[in-house]
Amino acid sequence: MEPETQTQIHIAEEKAAPVNILMVDDEPANLLALEAVLDSLGQRLVRAGSGREALKHLMNEEFAVILLDVAMPVMDGFETARLVRQRDKNRLTPIIFLTAVGRTESEIFRGYEVGAVDYLLKPLVPEILKSKVLIFIELYNKTRQIQRLNTELKRNVRELESTNQELKKENAVRRRAEQELRHSEEKLRVLNASLEERVEERSALAEERAKELSRSNAELQQFVHVASHDLKEPLRMINSFVQLLQRQSADKLDANSEEYIQYVVEGARRIQRLIDDLLSYTRLGARSLSPQAVELGEVVEEALSNLSLAANECGAEVTWDPMPRVEADRTHMVLLFQNLVGNALKFRGAGKPKVHIGAKAEIDRWVFSVKDNGIGIEPQYFEKIFIVFQRLHAREEYPGTGIGLALCKKVVEQHGGKIWVESELGKGSAFYFTIPKIIRGGRHEGETGDGTEAI
């Protein structure tokens, strides 16, 4: 609707603009007469005294209509019209021939042939002249308006087209953006999916690893177990036959051979003890804890009763504080106290061995101690002694496999505690270990010991 309204407004405006009218006549009086008639039209009137002059004007300006006298010397109206028509610019410029009354029909026809649009007969009737010229002025104006409108339309169309183009471009951009968005959404989705997949894979992998680890752990346990048993078999053979040799051939052996055989017997016995200790050490790992309320007083008594032979032998005096009840694995606790007190008795000094087992409550844990008046340990070995197979003394001095304290450490750590030693060479040692009042950590919970132990 809007463009139409605009067009109407344009037409209204155009009406005021004056146009050029070309009057061609060799008679100045005729030109004057024409001017007199047409002056009231309010247009710009241009005079030309000859065809040549008319052509000159046409070259410079644009005219709405040409009033052309037919009978002119040198170049008559027809000739002038022909030349006018030859110019591209003026091919459609209306030409009104002015001719005297009484001209032949053939003359008029000739006029139309060279491009006249109308004829006016002299003497001119002013009203007719005026109305005819007015028609052409209007025609010219309309044409111009249409041209302008056309141009404008074209421009509008161009603008529309360019807008359209831009819209299309924008559309394309948007479509591309949308596509890209969809694309990146898809990418994101795929990425997400792959991420999820990867997370799943990872957790599956982690689970797999954990399974593998526990499997390989179990396998290792199994291996140590089997290996220990398989080691024991040939050991049994060595033991038995060397002893058989001792029994049956005692009279045939010299003193050296006796001694050598003794070394074999002892060596075999030591291997056997090592294997036994190693087995109990690995069993600690294989068997999950079964924590329960344990009266440590009973545990200490049991450990001491297991050690009574050694304690009585050396006349040791063992005392202990009142012991608390803790959440722990009972078997392991017995093993722990027995090892620590056993060590205190084994590494005794020259005097009468005195061992004291202490218990002290802290906020969230118990600190236990086993103090002796034995040979003591140099500080540089404080860490080392807890490593498996680590020994500080010659076997002849103090027998043992070097597993005892490693076992203690394992037990304490499995219960979520710490173990350490304070000692001075020659003045005795104090072994400390802690047991949390509330047991935490995975090993203590959720695991059910299968209870079956193949030894």
């Binding site: 048993h229 078999e233 049994r236 033991n239 036959f241 058989l244 049956q248 079956t452 193949a454 030894i455």
Partner: protein, 147 residues
Amino acid sequence: MKAKLEMGPRPFEILLVEDNLGDITLMKEILKMSKFPIRLNVVRNGSEALDYLYHEGVYQDSKEPDLILLDLNLPKVDGREVLAQIKRDSLLGHIPTLVMTSSKNEADVLEAYKNNANFYIVKPMDMDHYMVIMKYLEDFWITRTNK
């Protein structure tokens, strides 16, 4: 030979089912020290043990043992199967069958007793224990059968 045999007490027949040569030798040596006349017959796997007991194959003339010492881990037919077969069979079930093995495995011990083993002996780690076991065999099984 024949006359001598008839005169003296009949030797106590032991069937040892054992694949390990060392153990066989040890058992021979140990039993040599016994104050009782003992004849030790040895088979090396479970299949041979069953042949011996059923007088089959090369053991057509085998005598029914007074006591069987049976290892558990044997080639071919396992000692556990042999034990089950012996105790299942009414003709053999009465023969005292002692499991003698290096396995301390609780499951093995339980299974042996479930299959009516007469005793479960863990192979000793040294000579002293062997002597204890021989004493046990003499006191509980050989004298009883040879009274």
